[in-house]
Symmetry: C2
Subunit: 347 residues, 2 copies
C-alpha cells in the first residue's frame, strides 16, 4: 500500500483525464469527486474507478466533451447529461437543484444520459454545504431481483440524504440491497461462505456460496422493503428523468459499446426558508446529543452518526495520504505511461 498525498493524486487524476481529452475544468470537477470519495474511505467508489472511466473515455463509450443541457420549469429542471462522466453530470445537476432551492425554497433536477457517478456523498455534501438538505437518487445496472423473482432487474439503487451540521455534514447513503456485490467478491477471494439472505444463486435459491451468489443476484435489504425502495428509486432516478431503467441500464465494465444511460435525481431544500438556520442547527445538534446519550448495547463501544466515520477518515487521510494498493497503483501508472502522463509519485 502506498499513501500519496491528496494534492498529488488530485493532480495525477486531472492529468489522466485531460490526456484523454476531458476539458481541464471538467477534469477538476471529476477529480474532486473521486478524491473526496477516497478521502472518505469509500475506496470502492473513488480513485479505484478511474481506470474504467479512462477506458470508456478512450473508446468513446463515455463522452469526453459532453454538452450538458438544462431545461428549467419553475422549481424543477430536466438535464440531459449527453453521456458525460456521471460525476460531472451529477455535480452540475445538484448545483441546478441548489440554485432552484435558493430561489424557490426547494429544487429538483433530474438527469438522463449520465453514467456511474461514484458515491452519492459528494453531491449530498454540496447541498449540506449550502445549508440545504439534499436528496440523491440514482439507478444502476441490474444486480438485484424484485421480491419473489430469481433474476436481477434493479440495480442496487441507492437513496442518499445530506443534512447540514456544524461539525460535519450528516450523510446517509442507503443502497437498497442487503450488501454490496463487493462483499460477496471479497468472501470468494478469502474462501469464506456468505450469510444466508445476502444472495441467491442463478436458480433463485438462497445460497451461502459466494461463487454461486455471483452467478445469481444480491438480495434487497429487509426483503420486500428493499425491493420497494429500489422501485421508488428507479422511478425517481430512471422513469422520471427519461434515462434507461431496469434491464436497459448499461454496465461500463462489460464489453458492450452502448452508453450506460444512467439516470439520477437531486432535490435540494433550503432550510432557511422553513426556520432560522440557528434553530435548525440547534435542534439537530440537540438530537445528535440525544442519540449519543442512548446507553450502549452489548458489544458496541459507540453510537455513530451517519457521516461521522467518513469525516474522521477524511481528517486522517488528509494527514497520512490516500491509501492506494500496489495493484491499483500499477494499473494507473501503466495507463499513465500509455497516455503520456507522469506516473503517480509515491515518495
Amino acid at each position: 500500500m502506498e499513501y500519496p498525498a491528496e494534492k498529488i493524486i488530485s493532480e495525477f487524476c486531472c492529468n489522466l483525464l485531460a490526456s484523454v481529452g476531458v476539458p481541464a475544468d471538467d477534469a477538476q470537477v471529476v477529480a474532486a469527486v473521486l478524491i473526496d470519495t477516497s478521502l472518505e474511505g469509500i475506496d470502492t467508489h473513488g480513485l479505484s474507478r478511474l481506470p474504467a472511466y479512462l477506458t470508456c473515455l478512450k473508446n468513446g463509450r463515455i463522452n469526453k466533451e459532453p454538452q450538458i443541457r438544462v431545461v428549467k420549469s419553475g422549481a424543477v429542471a430536466s438535464i440531459d447529461g449527453d453521456n458525460g462522466l456521471g460525476q460531472l453530470v451529477a455535480v452540475r445537476s445538484m448545483q441546478v437543484a441548489i440554485d432552484l432551492a435558493k430561489e424557490f425554497g426547494i429544487g429538483l433536477a433530474t438527469a438522463k444520459r449520465s453514467n456511474h457517478f461514484g458515491a452519492a456523498s459528494y453531491f449530498c455534501k454540496m447541498a449540506a454545504g449550502q445549508g440545504m438538505i439534499g436528496q440523491v437518487f440514482t439507478n444502476a445496472p441490474p444486480a438485484m431481483p424484485p421480491w419473489g423473482g430469481m433474476r436481477p432487474y434493479f440495480g442496487t439503487n441507492p437513496v442518499a440524504f445530506g443534512i447540514p451540521q456544524e461539525e460535519y455534514p450528516v450523510v446517509i447513503d442507503l443502497s437498497s440491497s442487503n450488501v454490496a456485490r463487493g462483499n460477496v467478491i471479497l468472501a470468494l477471494k478469502e474462501g469464506r461462505s456468505i450469510p444466508l439472505g445476502w444472495a441467491i444463486d442463478k436458480e433463485g435459491r438462497p445460497t451461502t456460496d459466494p461463487k454461486e451468489a455471483l452467478e445469481g443476484a444480491v438480495l434487497p435489504v429487509g426483503g420486500a422493503k428493499g425491493y420497494a425502495l429500489a422501485l421508488a428509486v428507479e422511478v425517481m432516478a430512471g422513469i422520471l428523468s427519461g434515462s434507461a431503467y431496469g434491464l436497459d441500464v448499461g454496465f461500463i465494465y462489460d464489453d458492450k459499446k452502448e452508453p450506460a444511460n444512467i439516470g439520477h435525481s437531486f432535490i435540494a431544500i433550503d432550510v432557511s426558508r422553513l426556520m432560522l438556520d440557528d434553530t435548525f442547527t440547534e435542534r439537530l445538534s440537540d438530537m445528535i446529543q440525544g442519540i449519543k446519550a442512548v446507553p450502549l448495547a452489548e458489544g458496541y463501544s459507540e453510537i455513530r452518526i451517519p457521516g461521522e466515520k467518513r469525516h474522521r477518515i477524511m481528517q486522517e487521510r488528509r494527514k497520512s495520504g490516500i491509501p492506494v494498493s500496489q495493484t491499483l497503483l500499477k494499473e494507473l501508472n501503466i495507463l499513465a505511461t500509455e497516455l503520456g502522463v507522469s506516473p503517480l509519485s509515491t515518495e
Copy 2:
C-alpha cells in the same frame, strides 16, 4: 367478525367524531382516511385507531377544532397543525404541497404540532391522483434504538412514496424498523418465539422472547441502514418542521396529557413539468411489465408491485364490506352509546 359496508362505517365514523365536537367537514376528512386505510387491508392503522382518537378528543389531548395555519414561502410551506387529528393535518398539508407543485413543479409542506396520522398511503394517493409523485415522512413515538444503542430513541419512522399509475397508484410505505411492534405482540399472543434480529430486550441483548422484546425495543431494518433511514426521516419530519423529535415525541396510548407534537413532511412533484404525462405512464407501465416478467424464485407464485395488494383488497372489501372484529365492534359501540350515537349496524 362482522363486515359492515363502507358507507355505513363511514357515516358511523363521522357521527362519532362529530359527537365529540369535531366539525362535520373535518370529521369527513378524517373518516375518509380511516376507511380508506381499512379498505386497503391495513387494519392496524385504520378504523381500529378510532377509539384512541375519540378518547384523546374527549379528554382534550387532541384539539377537536384546530386552526391549522399555513405559512408559504416560494415552493415551500410550514404548517402548524394546532394539535389537530393527524389525518386532518396531513390531508391539509399534502394538499398544500400539491398546490405548490402545480405552481412550481415541486412543493414541500412540513407540519408540526400534529398527531398520529395513521398510514401514509392515503396522502401518497392524493399526490398520485393528481399525476404527481408524493413523498411522505413522519416521526413517531420512541420504539427503536439507534444502531449500537439499547434503548429506543426513534419511532419506526416511515418514508412513503406515491406514484401515479393508470390501473392503481403505486404506494411504497417503508417503516425503518425490521417489523412493526404489532408482529411482536401477535407472537406473544400466539405463544410463538420471534426470529433473532427483530428485537432486543431491555438490556439491549438480541432476544427471541416476544415478552422480553416488548420490554426492550424493535430493531432497525438492515441494521445500521434502518437506523440511518430513521435519522433521515426524523430530520425531514421532525427537525425541519419544528415538531417534537426523538424522546420528546408523544404517544397517545399512554397516560400523559401533553400533546404528541408529531411532525410530518410532504413533497409533491408534478410529473407533467418534467415529461409528458403519457411518456411517464408508458415508461412506468413498461417497467411494471418488465418486473412482472422476471422468472419466479422457488416458493413464490407472483411478483407484486407495491400498491397492488392494497388495490386488490380494496376492490374486494368494497363489495364484501370491511372486516370489524367483535372486540373492536364492541369497543366502538360502547363509545357510541356513551356519546349518544346510533350503534354500528351489522345487518
